[in-house]
């Protein structure tokens, strides 16, 4: 009897929890914040695509290179012709502006995601964390409905209009933004960053031309202070944004932080994306409050009626929720995968991408391939192949410190020579890499034939161990005249 009673109590408790969860996720929230988020991200992405075209990066990054590095599993992604590339980027800009104004939103955001993600998949050497973030963010936006207010769609179709959206839409975006910040911070919990102030010790002194502030950037203690501040900022800032009393101050800190990252580093749209993204942590009606403050006439917030929210889980609702949870779990686990690989990820780079490891390392390398060729008649010869034969300087600079790309080009070289009619091709890499100011060390085992080495998720034994010595700490520049 007691067992039955206990089981019943558990069931009631579980029901109560699941219902509470449903109520929380489905609770109507003012649409204003998400609508503004849509406008800002759409506008920014349109500007970003046009900036890409205007800067001539289509030619530099996609037309000039003869060889493009592929993502694992995406070798089918091909770089279109120059005309096709311009069409692609015009399509991205057009879709983005449609997202911003809310014109055919659902089609526009899906189109944007497809085109933008395709563009990002064209060459690994163009990988940037903030581009990946935009891909993830806009994928999420495909399932949201921020176009139901302040959009052309809502203007054209009154039935679409809504003053509220269910809370899960905000929570999902917040989760993704928060995850980025947290992992960007957690990635800085690292010896080079915290104990040796690298690479800020290298990166900041060249900015000492800043008026007044400049001389400080030469100081070693400032590099340590910035390193620790960046670690704490990234790790904790979302906590402060979630805590209402601290929110305005946290946002001010975010503005200052990203302003300085914009000044110090060539990181393009990243500061803008992050500033726009954290706005989602304000109350859902913040745009209306701001409008009132600025005396801009806006529709008043609709009365929120929780009674309209669903009270019971349906199968469809449960499956949709499960899909979102799985997506979030994947996002949560992905940055942790580098723990599977011994050594520092900054060196072997296994688990580096898609992990929000932002601006963490100064890496430069040199690379040549030694290729042993055997003809069908058994005669052998060895040639030296420079990556420059296939790559632009930009590609070379990026790939020389990334072992998987070194392997990928080795395979391409192998295939090239096999196509020329050689019976066997062996490819050995002479790779030297400097990490965070250390002297250059060999990164690839020179005795390993990369032509017969396959890339996979297993630990890559052909990558050497990271240099054991700590990075050098450069002192503030001082010249003692003789």
């Amino acid at each position: 009897m007691s067992i039955v009673a206990s089981g019943s109590a558990h069931t009631v408790l579980a029901d109560s929890l699941s219902d509470r969860l449903l109520r929380e996720l489905a609770a109507p929230r003012d649409i204003a914040a998400l609508a503004v988020f849509r406008i800002l991200i759409g506008g920014l992405m349109c500007a970003g695509a046009l900036r890409f075209v205007r800067n001539g990066w289509i030619e530099r990054l996609y037309v000039e290179p003869e060889f493009h590095f592929k993502y694992w599993g995406f070798s089918w992604v091909q770089v279109p012709s120059e005309f096709g590339l311009y069409l692609l980027y015009c399509g991205i800009a057009l879709a983005a502006i449609c997202v911003a104004i809310g014109l055919f939103y659902r089609v526009a955001i899906i189109t944007f995601w497809c085109l933008f993600t395709y563009a990002e998949l064209m060459d690994v050497t163009t990988y940037l964390n903030h581009y990946y973030f935009i891909s993830v963010l806009t994928l999420i936006m495909c399932f949201l409905s921020p176009h139901r207010a302040w959009s052309v769609d809502a203007w054209r179709r009154p039935a679409l209009r809504s003053q509220t959206l269910p809370a899960w839409q905000t929570h999902w975006v917040r989760f993704q933004v928060g995850l980025l910040y947290f992992y960007a911070g957690w990635a800085k919990f690292e010896i080079d960053w915290l104990l040796h102030a690298q690479p800020l010790n290298i990166w900041l002194p060249p900015h000492s031309g800043l008026p007044l502030l400049g001389p400080l950037l030469e100081q070693t203690w400032v590099h340590f202070a910035f390193s620790w501040f960046a670690f704490l900022f990234d790790t904790l800032i979302i906590g402060f944004m979630l805590w209402r009393p601290a929110r305005p101050y946290a946002f001010l800190v975010i503005l200052v932080f990203h302003y300085f990252t914009h000044v110090f580093f060539n990181i393009g749209l990243f500061p803008f994306i992050m500033v726009f993204s954290v706005l989602i942590f304000f109350e859902a009606d913040w745009p209306r409050k701001l409008a009132r403050l600025l005396r801009v006439p806006l529709a008043a917030r609709a009365a929120v009626t929780p009674a309209n929210a669903p009270r019971r889980w349906s199968l469809g609702r449960a499956l949709a929720t499960l899909a979102v949870v799985l997506f979030c779990a994947l996002q949560f686990l992905m940055p942790l995968r580098h723990w599977y690989y011994p050594g520092t990820v900054l060196w072997h780079e296994q688990g580096m991408r898609f992990s929000w490891r932002v601006m963490l390392r100064e890496k430069s390398g040199s690379l040549e391939y030694r290729v042993a060729l055997t003809r069908h008649d058994g005669t052998r010869r060895t040639v030296i192949v420079s990556p420059h034969r296939y790559l632009t300087e930009e590609q070379y600079r990026e790939m020389a410190g990334q072992p998987d790309l070194i392997l990928q080009l080795a395979h391409h070289i192998r295939d090239d020579y096999l196509a020329e009619g050689f019976a066997t091709v062996e490819v050995y890499a002479q790779s030297f890499v400097s990490l965070n100011g250390r002297l250059a060390h060999r990164m690839i085992d020179p005795a390993v034939d990369l032509a017969s080495t396959e890339f996979g998720l297993a630990r890559a034994g052909w990558i050497t161990s990271a240099p054991p010595e700590p990075p050098p700490l450069q002192r503030p520049l001082r010249l003692d005249r003789k």
Partner: protein, 432 residues
């Protein structure tokens, strides 16, 4: 002509707008935090009753230090190199005029060859110093303050159009700003000086007098350009030196920060990697690629830079000597190594000098033996060359490439990182 007109104010505007915010923030911080020194209201330090005699100037720090190094490089290396080239270009002009006056006299021709050799050595030093006016003004290789003067003086690696050059000589064409770069400059002079007659395959077959006269016109043009280039830097004329030495100050409209000038220097230094190592050494040895379009299946001596005059090795020495000088400084003046030592990277400063000295020593040995051109022509075994490259010993031109690579890897890797320098063609895209 004022420097404002010669060097348009472009970068400074971006700099000002970029840094206006930090300036404001710093002013606020400074206002809140009070200031140091005696004027900020703090406790004034009593004056030192007996200051110790100190003949050493105080250390220079930060951007002042960078400017000091730039100033030394500008005044002790760049300007003297251009002065030297201006002087030897005049010597070449005189010698070429003598050949034109007596085109059939061998001694006169020998004097012209010697003058050209001297000019070439001088220019090969200047090749590594392509900052400011010598550089290009248009993308993708645009240089801040670039005024496109280099290619008219020496257009290599553009292939000389020798038949068009012979035609110009036959026609008595003027040599001026409209003359295509592949039939003018030091390369064209080399062709006329070091070949006795036109290639029989060419349509135009000018006689010795016509060729000598054209030689003289070419030398006149180079002398004019040499003077023009020097004047761009000359404090008494366009004074690019002022732009260089005051980078980051109001007087420099070209370089918003000293770091911008150092970045320009860094990109100029890459000449030694891209041109000296890759084109002048690697291509002729046939090492870097297997599908070279050259006659010999092993090496490609036709790609030697100065094969007619047999002085490619001297070019390499001049390139690397200038590269070394920029690091060590000359005549007690400072160089890039002082910046490295100034941030406690003596290890890198020592390493690059040792490695460049290895290059120069091997080059000297090659020149003392057969000369670089002959050494390349003697390459008959590709595997031997590959092994020499990998071990940096053995077949001299191939071993040289290995030694060069070690030195330049140190430059393009740890040194560029340590000083936060720019590398060429890396402006596309963002970071994160």
């Amino acid at each position: 002509m004022s420097s404002e007109r010669v060097f348009p104010r472009v970068e400074r505007l971006g700099f000002a707008s970029r840094y206006a915010g930090p300036l404001a923030v710093t002013l606020i911080l400074a206002a809140c935090g009070g200031g140091g020194g005696n004027g900020g209201g703090g406790i004034a330090q009593p004056p030192d009753p007996e200051p110790a005699p100190d003949n050493d100037p105080p250390p220079e720090t930060g951007d002042d230090a960078r400017r000091a190094v730039l100033s030394d490089i500008g005044t002790a290396i760049i300007v003297p190199a251009l002065e030297d080239f201006d002087m030897v270009a005049m010597g070449l002009q005189t010698a070429a005029a003598a050949v034109a006056a007596t085109p059939s006299e061998v001694p006169t021709s020998d004097a012209a060859k010697a003058a050209w050799n001297t000019a070439m050595t001088s220019w090969q030093r200047a090749e590594v110093l392509q900052v400011g006016p010598a550089g290009r003004s248009t993308n993708p290789d645009a240089v801040a303050g670039g005024q496109d003067l280099r290619d008219s003086i020496y257009s290599w690696p553009f292939t000389l159009d020798t038949c068009a050059l012979e035609a110009a000589a036959a026609n008595g064409d003027a040599v001026d700003g409209t003359t295509p770069i592949n039939i003018t400059g030091l390369g064209a002079i080399e062709h006329l000086l070091f070949t006795d007659a036109p290639d029989p395959a060419c349509a135009s077959q000018p006689d010795a007098a016509a060729r000598a006269a054209h030689l003289s016109r070419l030398a006149d043009r180079i002398a004019l350009l040499a003077t023009s280039l020097l004047e761009r830097w000359d404090p008494a004329a366009d004074d690019f030196l002022e732009q260089w030495t005051t980078a980051g100050l109001d007087s420099s409209v070209i370089y918003g920060r000293p770091q911008d000038a150092l970045d320009a220097l860094s990109i100029a230094l890459f000449y030694v990697e891209k041109q000296t190592k890759d084109r002048k050494v690697a291509l002729p040895t046939g090492l870097p690629v297997t599908d070279l379009n050259c006659a010999d299946p092993v090496a490609c001596p036709e790609f030697l830079e100065s094969r007619l005059s047999r002085r490619t090795g001297e070019n390499l020495i001049a390139n690397f000597q200038a590269f070394r000088d920029l690091f060590t400084g000359v005549d007690g003046a400072m160089g890039v190594n002082d910046l490295l030592i100034g941030i406690d990277r003596q290890d890198l400063a020592d390493q690059i000098v040792v490695q460049v000295d290895d290059v120069l020593a091997l080059l000297a040995q090659i020149e003392a033996d057969t000369g670089f051109d002959a050494a390349v022509e003697a390459i008959t075994d590709n595997d031997e060359c590959v092994n020499a490259f990998s071990s940096s010993s053995g077949l001299p031109p191939c071993a040289l490439l290995g030694v060069m690579k070690s030195a330049l890897d140190t430059f393009r890797g740890p040194i560029v990182s340590a000083l936060g320098l720019a590398i060429p063609s890396a402006a596309a895209g963002d970071n994160d």
